[in-house]
């Protein structure tokens, strides 16, 4: 027996089968959580917003075309939620203290990889929310410029300038000579 397709789970969830939606969440929760974690750089908030994204998606499931892919859609829902969350916060909030620091020290190469990931995450977290979201959509969700513009209701020129400036800032943070 093969596992049911997302499409079948969506149709069943729309008929009120809670288990079907639970299965759908189980399939996509790690991806959605990682979207939120890249955007927020805080595990606790990322979990909260990932859950919120699934709640929103469930509310809107009756308008979702089941022939489309659920994964990209739910990740975009989560991205938008995170953007709203970030923009609702005071820009001067003492976020940096709350942010996750990788305190676990594994030996050798793994520690180096972790350290590098942590640098990348920290660099992403240092970007203004509007820049962060275009990087997320372009680099991690593979959206085109046009798709990003549509998703964020921004002019194409803004998408480009946000993305290019974001990359410049990231490069400065990550490739600065030690």
């Amino acid at each position: 027996m093969t596992a049911p397709a997302d499409r079948d789970l969506i149709l069943r969830a729309r008929r009120g089968e809670t288990e079907a939606y639970g299965e759908l969440v189980a399939r996509h929760q790690t991806n959605v959580f990682n979207v939120c974690y890249r955007m927020l750089h805080n595990r606790h908030d990322a979990e909260d917003l990932a859950q919120e994204a699934f709640i929103r998606a469930l509310d809107r499931l009756h308008t979702f075309d089941p022939e489309r892919e659920f994964g990209p859609w739910i990740r975009r829902v989560a991205t938008n939620l995170c953007l709203n969350h970030l923009e609702a916060q005071k820009p001067t909030a003492p976020l940096d203290e709350e942010r996750d620091e990788d305190k676990t020290q594994s030996p050798g190469e793994q520690a180096e990889v972790k350290e590098r990931s942590e640098q990348i995450r920290a660099a992403l977290a240092s970007l203004p929310p509007r820049y962060r979201v275009v990087v997320e959509l372009r680099h991690y969700q593979d959206l085109s410029y046009d798709e990003i513009a549509k998703e964020l209701s921004l002019p194409l020129s803004d998408v480009k300038s946000h993305l290019f400036r974001a990359r410049k800032l990231l490069a400065e943070k990550l490739h600065a000579p030690d």
């Binding site: 939606y21 680099h139 410029y145």
Partner: protein, 180 residues
């Protein structure tokens, strides 16, 4: 003239219409090739970011857990079952007594009952008007000296028992349905 940042970015994003022109310049210009290489390493850095494990199971918050289903506690189910069994036994045991009692009770015809009720109502109204006419006189309901037709104690028990049995059985049935 060197390539702008914008053109380099668009080239790497596969969003340029002038791919050949950009590549021609990159072949001939070390400076722009180096800028491209820097940008590529940033892309590689972003790509290298591993997914982290989710420590909580969000899906569990959406699937109904058995404990969350409206399920009466075991003791309640047991009590209801015992109650129903006791009620049924009582009914079976009481059945012969009931039949005897029922035969003993004088069941007046519906017309007689109506007549009696009417008489009593008239008397009650008379008493009320008497009270209104002479409020000082001690008021007494005239019902006491009039025997109720079927108000024997035993006759009250029968409907009471039947109602209880239906109530208990009905409760059990409702609870059973909620289990699903």
């Amino acid at each position: 003239m060197h390539l702008t940042d914008e053109r380099l970015n668009e080239y790497l994003d596969n969003e340029t219409a002038d791919k050949a022109g950009i590549e021609a310049h990159l072949h001939s210009c070390k400076k722009c090739a180096a800028r491209l290489s820097d940008l590529q390493s940033l892309f590689a850095d972003l790509d290298s970011l591993p997914d982290v494990e989710l420590s909580a199971n969000i899906a569990a918050r959406f699937s109904p857990r058995p404990s969350l289903i409206l399920q009466p506690p075991r003791w309640l189910t047991l009590t209801t079952t015992l109650q129903a069994a006791a009620a049924l036994t009582a009914l079976v045991v009481a059945a012969p007594f009931f039949s005897i009692m029922l035969s003993q009770i004088e069941t007046p015809s519906f017309t007689t009952l109506l007549l009696q009720l009417q008489t009593r109502w008239t008397m009650f109204l008379n008493a009320l008007s008497a009270l209104a006419a002479n409020p000082v006189e001690e008021f007494q309901l005239p019902i006491t000296d009039y025997p109720l037709p079927i108000a024997e104690l035993s006759a009250l028990f029968i409907p009471l028992a039947v109602v209880s049995i239906f109530w208990v059985l009905g409760n059990g049935w409702l609870l059973r349905n909620q289990n699903r």
